[in-house]
């Protein structure tokens, strides 16, 4: 009996030693996510998703026979911390590629490091300046603000509404949206007759909306993240503001409908496709990825997957695709990322090239309207 035990364990240990000797070491991928702090609503689903996807890839045998290993840190949304952690990932952890960080200021802070150290970075932040101008080692998965703006303006142009009021939140998200709105208005023959801001925590927006009413605008565009836009929707209803209201993709979550209640009815906004995955036509190339992601996230974390998680899903899957094409070194991943065409992910269909490291077209967004406390697609 004892002999049998020994021979068994000997066999097992031989097997173990063999597998260690023959399996290549895992490919280390660094993750920088703002899991705590003010940007936690972005960083938390991003980290969760990245972990979920990497685990699943490994369970299915890894990529080209090599496992992935995610080394992730919490940047708390702080650019200085993001920079330190990026250095740590590259120098101590010796990662092959980095995904993150969650916000544009953090991404801008670490770009010089990855450029110098030649490590591919897939940023999860939206600011268009991350990849414009193109930096050799920097890619991104979050949709540019400019795409969302053009969706709204195109719709307004079709409706022949040219006098528009804009209200933007006084944060980075709002000022970036405001820049885009002002830059693109002329191209669509739209004049901004009123331009004002609101504080992210202001309790009452009737003052701004009273001015909107006096400006005789034909439509109102609100650029912000919860809860400000929900308060604006409520205040607009109170004032009896009759003009159509458009919001940004910053409020494309069920939370907005919950906060604004009846006042949300009829509001239109450009949104990534995650929230309307089940409404998309069968022919939509992203449908398969979207449904898989939403269901998967629901199973793992008991809450619906959102856009932010989607950015991380795209980043991990793009790296996987690049490795599959034969690059498991930093330079190999970078070169192969640039060759990816028509990759149907969560944020859109990615086609990177040497001139375009954002990779998304206008089809990354759809225009949705809120009806009966749910989303419907605007045709």
């Amino acid at each position: 009996m004892i002999r049998r035990f020994f021979s068994c364990s000997a066999a097992v240990s031989v097997l173990l030693v063999c597998s260690i000797a023959f399996a290549a070491p895992p490919i280390k991928i660094g993750g920088l996510f703002a899991v705590s702090g003010p940007s936690a609503p972005l960083g938390e689903p991003e980290r969760n998703t990245a972990k979920m996807v990497v685990d699943e890839i490994n369970k299915a045998g890894g990529v080209n026979g090599r496992k992935l290993e995610l080394v992730s840190y919490d940047t708390t949304g702080d650019a200085t911390k993001a920079l330190q952690l990026a250095n740590k990932l590259i120098k101590d952890d010796k990662v092959t590629a980095i995904i993150g960080p969650s916000t544009t200021p953090e991404a801008m802070a670490i770009i010089p490091v990855v450029e110098k150290e030649h490590i591919p970075l897939i940023a999860l932040a939206a600011g268009s300046k991350i990849t414009d101008p193109v930096k050799k080692w920097v890619f991104k998965t979050a949709q540019n603000d400019s795409l969302a703006v053009s969706w709204i303006f195109e719709y307004l142009q079709k409706q022949k509404q040219s006098k528009v009021a804009i209200l933007t939140v006084s944060t980075g998200f709002g000022s970036s949206g405001r820049e885009q709105l002002k830059a693109q208005a002329a191209r669509y023959g739209i004049s901004l007759v009123f331009d004002d801001t609101f504080g992210p925590n202001d309790s009452d927006m009737t003052a701004q909306l009273t001015k909107v009413r006096a400006s005789h605008a034909q439509a109102l565009i609100v650029w912000g993240t919860n809860p400000g836009p929900a308060k604006i929707a409520n205040n607009a209803r109170q004032l009896g503001l009759k003009i159509p209201i458009f919001m940004s993709h910053g409020v494309s979550s069920k939370k907005f409908i919950e906060l604004a209640g009846d006042a949300a009815e009829g509001i239109k906004l450009p949104s990534g496709k995650v929230i309307v995955a089940d409404l998309l036509p069968k022919s939509d190339s992203q449908r398969k990825s979207l449904m898989a992601f939403v269901k998967d996230y629901q199973n793992h974390y008991k809450t619906e997957g959102d856009h932010f998680g989607g950015h991380a899903w795209d980043a991990v899957m793009l790296i996987k695709a690049a490795i599959e094409r034969g690059g498991d070194t930093p330079a190999g991943i970078r070169d192969n990322l640039e060759k990816i065409k028509g990759f149907a992910g969560i944020g859109g269909t990615f086609s990177y090239s040497a001139q375009d490291h954002a990779g998304l077209g206008k089809d990354a967004f759809v225009l949705v309207e809120i009806k009966n406390r749910d989303w419907v697609l605007v045709k």
Partner: protein, 293 residues
């Protein structure tokens, strides 16, 4: 500038100002009983809203039952705060106590964040949300609730401080703590009372404003500071002066946002605060040595 616009700014300002007034009176009551500024006052405003949400959504109580429960719960929190954080250090200097209240506010906010998360939550209005038109301006039924409840609380406050024994005792403490103690007033009990009254008032303010502004774990910071401004304008009086201070602040803020720029909304409140502190530290209506209750 049209009349209906000015009217709209003023009406919006009055209802926001009423909230500042309620919070400001809470500051003054504690200041007068203890000589300290309770910077945790804003957190009781937050607790009012968040407890209402808890009783409404988690315990499924109807709104009319959830509100008194939330007031009681926040008041108990205020009582515990006094017992656990303020009373053990009663002999400490005011500056220590003020720092303790700041620490307490961070603790309460942190606990609220851990138990209710970082999301913003909506609370249904007390009686519908169909706008009421007044000469070209519109307000919501909730604005009327806010104004009416503020008036009632101010009247009850007045009756308490001038026509009941414990109210008079609290005024006596404000005039001179030592003399009040010498004539047999239990000063410690008055301090406890002051915390109970002001946390109850703070939570009421938080509850009546929540349907309009929504509530989250961090709404107490700004509302608390604005209430503090109102109390300073009113010269730390727990009576009508602070109420006027709050209303004035609300209207100026709203007019400033409407006529100048909404970007300066918060700046206006703090510029007023600084001006008052520089020019009339005794408050807008106070005599140099003012009666503070």
């Amino acid at each position: 500038m049209q009349f209906d616009q000015i009217l709209q700014y003023s009406l919006s300002g009055l209802s926001t100002g009423a909230i500042y007034a309620l919070i400001g009176v809470g500051f003054s009551i504690i200041f007068n009983a203890t000589g300290i500024i309770n910077f945790a006052q804003g957190e009781f405003v937050m607790l009012g809203g968040m407890f209402t949400l808890l009783f409404l959504e988690t315990l499924k109580l109807p709104l009319w039952a959830a509100i008194p429960c939330a007031i009681v719960a926040s008041t108990v929190a205020g009582l515990l705060f006094e017992r656990l954080a303020i009373r053990p250090l009663r002999q400490a200097t005011p500056i220590n106590l003020v720092i303790i209240t700041i620490g307490g506010s961070i603790l309460i906010r942190g606990l609220a964040m851990l138990s209710w998360g970082k999301d913003t939550h909506a609370i249904p209005p007390f009686s519908g949300d169909d706008p009421i038109a007044i000469a070209g301006a519109t307000i919501l039924p909730q604005h009327l609730w806010i104004l009416a409840i503020t008036v009632i609380i101010v009247i009850v406050n007045r009756i308490y401080f001038y026509h009941t024994i414990s109210g008079k005792a609290m005024r006596a403490c404000a005039y001179n703590r030592r003399a009040a103690g010498l004539v047999g007033i239990d000063v410690h009990r008055m301090v406890l009372f002051s915390f109970i009254i002001s946390s109850a008032m703070g939570s009421i303010a938080g509850i009546i404003v929540a349907p309009l502004t929504m509530t989250a774990y961090d709404v107490g910071i700004m509302l608390g500071l604005k209430g503090f401004c109102a109390a300073i304008i009113g010269g730390m009086s727990s009576g009508i002066a602070t109420v006027i201070g709050g209303l004035l602040l609300g209207v100026l803020e709203s007019l400033g946002a409407g006529l100048i720029s909404s970007g300066y909304k918060d700046a206006i409140a703090f510029i007023i605060l600084l001006l008052i502190l520089f020019i009339r530290p005794q408050g807008l209506f106070g005599k140099a040595e003012s009666e503070r209750v």
